[in-house]
């Protein structure tokens, strides 16, 4: 019998406490951002749509190999000094925005932008071609690139990496040499801002 009345009291009192909490929230400011009028500012490291600056890319294929879902399509023709890149495409149907490609790129041509809202009506439009086939083909070999006036990454004068963990090994540093800011003015204005995080760990100086 006592339990009966205790239950009734517990039900009513807990209901009132709950109602007090909810009514309090009516007067707090809602946390919603009215998209698309108000947008959230993305942090620096935000992994948005991948952008490849083909003037810097030399088709080394690292990004295509390291991609876990094989969404990067690179086509080249020729060999050695006559090797040219003919197609660079990223298939956003497959891309998972993991940024392994940007991490392993040795020239810094591929970067993650801050864009995230590129919905399309047709799935085929999600395959982004970064190279215009009518334009000049991009040479891959370093010597050819210098000849034709393409950008090449500066060769850093570093001691050969030793087998023992040396104190000056740059991989452990938090701020490696970042080629991207030095060449910012070269990129045309139409491209999205290529913000590459300074905390990227991999050694950009090494070539494979």
């Amino acid at each position: 019998m006592v339990q009966y009345f205790a239950d009734m009291y517990a039900a009513v009192s807990s209901a009132f406490i709950g109602m007090g909490i909810t009514i309090k929230h009516i007067w707090t400011k809602p946390v919603t951002l009215q998209y698309p009028d108000e947008r959230q500012v993305m942090p620096d490291r935000f992994r948005g749509f991948v952008h490849n600056d083909t003037t810097k890319c030399d088709a080394c294929n690292i990004c295509a190999k390291v991609c876990p879902v094989d969404c990067i399509y690179i086509e080249t023709e020729g060999k050695a000094k006559d090797r040219y890149m003919t197609r660079y495409a990223i298939d956003y149907n497959k891309c998972i925005w993991c940024s392994l490609c940007t991490e392993n790129c040795h020239t810094g041509s591929i970067t993650m932008s801050h864009d995230y809202d590129h919905s399309v009506y047709d799935r085929r439009s999600l395959v982004y071609e970064f190279m215009d086939p009518t334009e000049q083909k991009i040479p891959c070999h370093r010597v050819t690139r210098i000849e034709k006036g393409f950008w090449v990454e500066p060769k850093e004068d570093k001691p050969k990496p030793a087998a023992k963990p040396a104190a000056d090994k740059p991989a452990a540093e938090t701020k490696p040499a970042d080629p991207a800011p030095a060449t910012e003015p070269e990129t045309p204005a139409a491209e999205p801002p290529a913000v590459d995080d300074g905390g990227s760990s991999d050694d950009k100086g090494e070539t494979k």
């Binding site: 209901a15 490291r45 991609c67 993991c98």
Partner: protein, 392 residues
């Protein structure tokens, strides 16, 4: 009264009528598309009115062959697949995989990286438990705690986005360390502020609004009691096991990473509102684990050492010597283990995942019997399963 057969001998207007009336169990399909099953889970129910006599989970709707893919991509690339298992606490899954991989590969991890790993894994755990509370409340009909819990989860997701770049699926840990160091924009202070706010204000809100609400308690007390013996037999881990009164936690009993340095309690189900091991106990264990995770995050970040955030022997291609290793970690759902067999190359020979939700789901066939349909929904919610883990 599963199946009965009656013989009716008198029909309408007293005619002689010999017939048979059979009754059988109603076969209901709580199908893959259902608002209450947390993901694409199919439950085949045999009910008699409201009472369930048999429940059979049917799985496989979310199978994505992640373990087979592990035989094709190398160790560093597979981290993104580990994210997709328990997509509500992806840092914990990352942590589980890289711990196993380091065990096979014999890699050392610097101190700073370990502290960062613990901090983000615990934040992920808090986020996952917030969803557990939110969706459990939603299943029980309380629409509002869902929005409150998601508001806190948004904060966590923003913090984790600042450190890793991804909002929900992070790909943040690598074998040998973490991908990036802590950002310079006051991240640690923001995390500590958030933790303080969560501990002081929000948890009280959730408790007053939902946990101790009489209607909620009445729905869950003494419902679907999981005894200690059954929990052991079925291999349950995590809050499901702790809700039955067993104090077992991989972080304390089989410590990995740097958990042995931190001071935290293991909440267990005490049968406060009913029996030990009922749905309310499992739910309350999660609420209390949020508090404990806050403690761990605070300790991890306040004692953060300087140094490298990645192993200095880390090469671009990570190879592991031939061998096999099993390592287990405490994910938010339970014990998440990886058994990695390596053949000496950069790709695993076999990567078998021991997922906690898969083993936890099995108890449904035992304790789901005799419940009402509404209680079954409560049971599924209290087990807190994630189909990504179950189907892999």
């Amino acid at each position: 009264m599963a199946t009965e057969e009656h013989k009716v001998t008198k029909g309408w207007a007293d005619q002689d009528h010999v017939g048979e009336v059979k009754s059988e169990l109603l076969e209901l399909n709580m199908g893959p598309q259902h608002p209450a099953t947390h993901g694409v889970l199919r439950l085949l129910l045999h009910t008699d009115g409201e009472i369930v006599y048999k429940v059979t989970p049917v799985l496989g709707y979310l199978h994505r062959c992640a373990e087979k893919i592990a035989e094709g991509v190398n160790y560093k690339q597979w981290v993104v697949y580990s994210d997709r298992f328990d997509y509500l606490a992806p840092m914990c899954c990352n942590h589980a995989y890289v711990t196993a991989m380091e065990k096979v590969g014999g890699l050392e991890v610097p101190e700073r990286a370990e502290h960062i790993r613990v901090a983000v894994a615990e934040l992920s755990r808090i986020a996952s438990h917030l969803i557990a509370l939110a969706t459990f409340g939603l299943d029980m009909g309380a629409w509002t705690p869902l929005l409150y819990c998601f508001r806190e989860r948004e904060e966590i997701l923003n913090l984790l986005e600042r450190i890793s770049g991804g909002r929900m699926l992070y790909n943040y840990m690598v074998p040998g360390g973490v991908r990036y160091d802590i950002p310079k924009d006051n991240w640690v202070a923001d995390v500590l502020d958030f933790i303080t706010m969560l501990e002081n204000k929000k948890l009280d809100d959730y408790n007053n609004l939902l946990s101790y609400n009489k209607i909620f308690v009445e729905r869950l007390a003494d419902v679907a009691v999981l005894s200690k013996e059954d929990a052991f037999q079925y291999g349950c881990t995590g809050p499901v096991l702790r809700g039955s009164g067993v104090q077992f936690d991989c972080r304390r009993d089989d410590p990995y990473s740097v958990y042995d340095r931190f001071d935290f309690d293991i909440p267990v189900g005490l049968g406060e509102m009913g029996t030990v091991g009922d749905c309310w106990d499992r739910y309350m264990v999660r609420v209390r684990e949020i508090e404990q995770s806050c403690r761990i995050v605070r300790q991890a970040l306040e004692t953060l050492p300087d140094g490298a955030y990645q192993s200095i022997e880390l090469k671009k291609i990570v190879k592991a010597p031939a061998g096999a290793a099993y390592s287990r970690t405490e994910s938010s759902k339970g014990e998440l283990g990886h058994y990695i067999i390596s053949d000496g190359g950069q790709t695993a020979f076999r990567n078998k995942v021991r997922s906690p939700s898969f083993c936890n789901l099995q108890v449904m066939e035992k304790i789901g019997v005799g419940l009402m349909v509404s209680d079954l929904v409560a049971l599924v919610g209290s087990l807190d399963i994630v189909l990504g883990e179950i189907d892999r």
